[in-house]
Symmetry: C3
Subunit: 343 residues, 3 copies
């Protein structure tokens, strides 16, 4: 416990000599494991936990008996850092498996691991210690940096750039053609606008399973440094996602829109094309964003409005039937008053 | 007809000796085929069908001339059972194709079929008669039960458990990392919380194409026995889906939420994190569920409310502009009345 | 410039002899590149562009100095046609790579290219000049026409038909089982209704990354000629999408519904099952369509209503709290008037 606490700058309350063999959630942790408490929802689980040690917020005062407590400013972050000690990133033997298809004109760093069934095309590059799983595909001339993980069945199309320490989850697709057509009434047909741009994914980005980041029509689609994108997200052509942004599952950003720095889109949000979402803006789940969003705003709803206003609207909305009835009733009363007056 | 009818416990009205060679929908069925009638929408198609035999609900009395009728309590279920006779599940020659990549430390049952281009990692297990298609991936130490079908390009990451008679459709991803980060302002960065838990998929589950079931942060994400999940669904880390639940396409369930037994989420529903949806609850399409749902409830809307109340709201909502106008008009009348009174 | 202008029937204003080496967006274009101006939002970029030549709408009169102008009736379409000159569709050496898995009973046209790691099953057919990337899968007896592109890790299940000039993007799944179950209370279980139909994709269709087109329960799911489907879209069993329709990212169409000709579904739209959306109808982003839509209609909202009415509703909705307050205030005033009257 003592070593772990000092790794995260925490203060131990209890037996610092207790040995810890793993990490777990409050409910499942055993007496040899470390857990954490951050969300007040889990106060009950905190009371009954069997964990040997628990990371708690510094300001928590009533620490009962039971586990050894480790006080830290951010228990979730401290837990993450301790987890990373117990579970290092996956590693495989360096080198290219004989059953991988690596083009002779591809450059794979000797410390990279390319597993059976992976495919790396001509002109592609793979950096140091990068791990390429079976079924992962790296297209012609695409460049993948150091210490990346390309999970099974992810796809990087041609001419894309992926930075270092990037994680691409299974089934994600980087660099598919943007959705661009020009209607030609003379045929008639939707004539395909060749998508001749590319995708640039900066360092420390994570892209979720089955998430699609389309290549630009011309120029680049960009996912900025340290941004994290969840599963099943759509990032259309020419979108720019600023550094350190968070895009939750099933959200979609339409063509040429820009998310600033530190933006958060909750799940199933939709953002129309050609707009800007300012730095640090937060958008509530399922919202539809149809115009520019100022920096720092918190918005919700379709079309999205200020979040507090939306909460009021959401509270009144279920009463709409009643409101209509009251209005009709009031009208008859007023009519009655007017009738009497005239009488 | 007679044999099929007795297979589903049906009563034949007409020539039980008619030979049936296949199954089809009411509109397309030929005179040698069997069809079914369950949804009253298709009454017109019932009248004009060319089918040789039609499964109908027992209570249907006006059976005209034409096909042989088979009366059953549940025509859709009876049709499904007869379909299964004509179209048994896909089968391939048992054994491991030479072009599959199966680690020597994996255990594949001799009756399982592993096709070219499938990949099974060290410590993984594949049960009896399970069929693993090209491009399917089974990670280290993951266990797949008997009689499963893993369709092309589906992915099971390491340390997951899949029961028996499970169907995983193409492009689905079981066990990708949950979306967990702790913000470290000192860098700044979103520090990845290692997702050290796993996924357990119980018997008789079906997971749709491009659906993602994330591995738990710690502990398990669970899809309960007999649950059916459609395409493009997001099941986040530590979610528990009860037995016999139905999750329709493009729905998403956020982290640590629980769906009870027999729950139905319609298409594009979103469920926030850390809540419980009670047994047998039903949630209407595109709804946003933001708090616990009692067992047996039927809810709709964002935020979701009682379904019947939502129907009233939905009926009034288009009149909002008119309501506002009426309100303003009423206000002027009242003002006029008050003015006159004072005068 | 002159040659390009005549290729698209445009009128040159300026030096028709200027050589053009590529295409680009207004902001990034260099003096040797051609760009286009179609969306008035980009007027500023038009003024400052460094492009050598710019396609502009014929009616645009104030053409300042700077680039050579090419006047055309549809600059976006003209740009697309010129792009296609500079960037022809991807091509590879004809033939089957030794590391592809092609069944001996499959028929691959000698001019087709089947790359390493692709898989083509027994009875499947691949047409002339079709390009099959690594990880693409064509199931038993499925037929793919001429000049198609099957990008990495896309899946076509058995018995499907794909026309000519079709593009299937990475991760898309054609012909997964439709989502059909019949509840059998006696077990209890959701009994799988075998999905014994198929998918037919007509000529000139494009299917986006991670999009799912399910096979029919019986009969066919159809994507009509020239329709374009974006990423992460769900097309359920027995759906029919008319010719020249556009379905944007993350939209979903439920079972047995029909989209007419030239229909447009914007992003994240949901369409319930068993309804018809008429020819040329347009549905706004995130809308929920719960009943038949007349031809030519433009609708929005959940449930979807006429788009202009929806705009009014959307404008009033944020004021719901205020409306309720006004109503309550008015009621007290009326009550006061009535009280005085009685007094």
């Amino acid at each position: 416990v003592g070593d772990l606490a000092s790794h995260v700058g925490g203060e131990v309350v209890g037996n610092a000599a207790l040995p810890i063999s793993g990490v777990s959630g409050l409910s499942e942790a055993k007496s040899s494991e470390l857990s954490f408490f951050a969300n007040p929802r889990y106060r009950k689980q905190l009371k009954s936990t069997q964990a040997g040690a628990v990371l708690v917020p510094s300001q928590l005062t009533e620490l009962g008996p039971g586990p050894v407590w480790i006080r830290v400013s951010n228990p979730h972050l401290a837990f993450a850092k301790i987890c990373a000690l117990f579970y290092p990133r996956p590693q495989r033997k360096p080198g290219v498996d004989a059953r991988a298809s690596v083009h002779e004109a591809a450059r794979v760093h000797p410390t990279a691991s390319v597993l059976a069934g992976a495919c790396i095309e001509a002109g592609a590059q793979v950096g140091a210690r990068t791990l390429v799983y079976p079924g992962a595909y790296i297209g012609e001339r695409s460049i993948v940096g150091d210490d990346c993980i390309l999970y099974p069945n992810c796809t990087i199309r041609e001419d894309c750039q992926v930075g270092s320490r990037v994680i691409l989850h299974s089934g994600c697709v980087i660099g598919a053609d943007g959705f661009g057509f020009a209607f030609d009434a003379s045929v008639p047909e939707h004539f395909k606008v060749p998508q001749v741009g590319t995708v640039r994914i900066e360092d420390d980005v994570e892209v979720g399973a089955c998430t699609c980041v389309d290549r630009a029509a011309t120029g680049e689609t960009v996912i900025g440094r340290g941004s994290k994108i969840d599963n099943l997200v759509q990032i259309a052509h020419n979108v720019r996602v600023g550094p350190l942004s968070i895009v939750c599952a099933q959200a979609g950003v339409s063509g040429s829109s820009e998310l600033g720095s530190g933006v958060v889109l909750a799940g199933q949000v939709g953002v129309v094309g050609h707009i800007k979402v300012g730095d640090m803006a937060r958008v509530g789940a399922q919202s539809g964003v149809a115009q520019d969003v100022p920096a720092g705003a918190t918005i919700s709803g379709t079309p999205a409005i200020d979040h507090r206003q939306w909460l009021r609207v959401a509270a009144v909305q279920p009463e709409l039937g009643k409101i209509l009835r009251e209005l009709r009733e009031l009208r008859s009363r007023v009519q009655a008053l007017m009738d009497k007056r005239e009488a």
